[in-house]
């Protein structure tokens, strides 16, 4: 602390030796009043900022979906509920708490699913969204939503376009190969030298989530086609 000692000297509050009973009421009252005012102000600010925040979040999501589904016209949000995919939830089920994937349309035709998933990478969790076309069993694109990988090494998974672009048209299940070992198979992804773990994590994320979701997607496809 600087030059000011709490409760000392002429400017500070007197060292108040008041009886405690009176205090506890004042105490509660003050806190309650302060809390109420604070809450009121916050509600106000919340109301004012929330639209912008939600809009931004939606925009980020939209852009990501645009990117990985190659610019669809619109997209539907599908929920994983009760072991299957559904666009409409029954009453009383909060969609925000369910896993969501997105189905994009171009010219009224479905173009593919955008799926977000995550797994621990080299430093921390990596979050990825990718587009998947079940009809051709191929990926449409991949985008890293969140990662804390080492700048210069691991962050190539989002910044190195030659790595990111490989996913367009690749066919899962994906297999990571070292540079120079590729055989030209469409399931192969070149690993970034020096960021083997981060690269493999992306591949794992896609493979694992597809493994889990493919049955649901196939099911949904049947429903949709019907």
């Amino acid at each position: 602390m600087s030059d000011v000692q709490p409760g000392s000297g002429n400017g500070g509050p007197p060292p108040a030796p008041e009886p405690p009973e009176v205090q506890s009421f004042r105490l509660l009252r003050t806190l309650a009043v302060a809390g109420a005012i604070a809450g009121f102000v916050l509600v106000f600010v919340y109301e004012a900022t929330q639209p912008a925040i939600l809009a931004y979040k939606a925009e980020v999501l939209r852009q990501a979906i645009q990117e990985v589904l190659k610019a669809p016209e619109r997209y539907d949000t599908l929920y994983v509920h009760d072991g299957r995919l559904t666009a409409e939830l029954p009453e009383g089920v909060n969609g925000d708490e369910l896993e969501q994937i997105y189905l994009g349309y171009l010219d009224q035709q479905p173009v593919g699913f955008a799926i977000a998933s995550e797994k621990a990478g080299f430093q921390d969790i990596i979050k990825v969204i990718y587009g998947y076309d079940p009809r051709t069993n191929s990926l449409l694109g991949m985008k890293v939503l969140e990662s804390k990988e080492t700048p210069g090494l691991g962050d190539k998974i989002e910044k190195d376009s030659s790595f990111v672009n490989q996913f367009d048209g690749s066919e899962p299940m994906l297999v990571g190969v070292k540079r120079g070992r590729a055989t030209g198979d469409a399931s192969e992804i070149d690993i970034i030298t020096g960021a083997t773990i981060s690269s493999r994590t992306i591949i794992d994320i896609i493979n694992l989530s597809l493994e889990r979701l493919t049955p649901l997607i196939e099911n949904y496809g049947e429903v949709a086609n019907r």
């Binding site: 809390g35 919340y46 797994k119 080299f122 430093q123 921390d124 794992d204």
Partner: protein
């Protein structure tokens, strides 16, 4: 199970709260002079972090969906009050334990490691068990960092530190060195 293990290890060494997230630096600087103190501070930290995780989980599940703007305020108020209550209970039940640990509790109820844990847990959407693993891991990590720092500082007390490095400058450089060394844990248990 593997998930819980990863959360624990990650919070403890891979993304150590002190050395990688820079949380709880105040006690790190202030209470790391003696190993004995550091150990007790660490224990108090584990304790409060666990309580915090509990509170955060409770609030996140039952209260905050209805009033998200109260997140910060409610975290602070609830955590502080609960720690206060527990502190008084300990004081009643076991005065010895209180003497060992209690004096550190007020120091850390409102520090950033505690609030940080609550916020991280919320942002990552951890459930109850995950939250517990996260809290224990973070607490163990804080304790580890504190004890390492304390024993190194006790050691450097006897060294002939140059005038310009005395005091906080050296502490930060040591912390930097520890942080460098902890980079070795990166990627632990994560994949391949």
């Amino acid at each position: 199970m593997g998930d819980l293990m990863w959360i624990l290890i990650s919070a403890m060494v891979v993304n150590n709260f002190t050395l990688f997230y820079f949380l709880g630096l105040c006690p790190f600087m202030g209470v790391s002079g003696r190993v004995y103190t550091a150990l007790r501070m660490g224990a108090a930290n584990i304790f409060v972090l666990t309580i915090t995780s509990l509170c955060a989980w409770f609030l996140n599940t039952f209260i905050l969906p209805y009033a998200p703007f109260l997140r910060l305020i409610s975290f602070i108020v609830v955590i502080a009050s609960l720690v206060q209550i527990v502190e008084m209970t300990i004081k009643k039940i076991s005065p010895t334990l209180f003497r060992q640990m209690g004096i550190y509790l007020p120091l850390i109820t409102t520090n950033c490691a505690i609030l940080g844990l609550a916020i991280f847990q919320t942002n990552r959407g951890y459930g109850f068990l995950q939250g517990m693993a996260f809290a224990v891991g973070a607490g163990l990590g804080l304790t580890l960092a504190l004890v390492l720092m304390a024993s190194i500082r006790e050691n450097t007390e006897l060294a002939d530190i140059p005038e310009v490095a005395k005091g906080t400058a050296l502490i930060f450089i040591i912390a930097g060195c520890l942080s460098l060394a902890f980079m070795g844990f990166a990627g632990l248990l994560s994949s391949t």
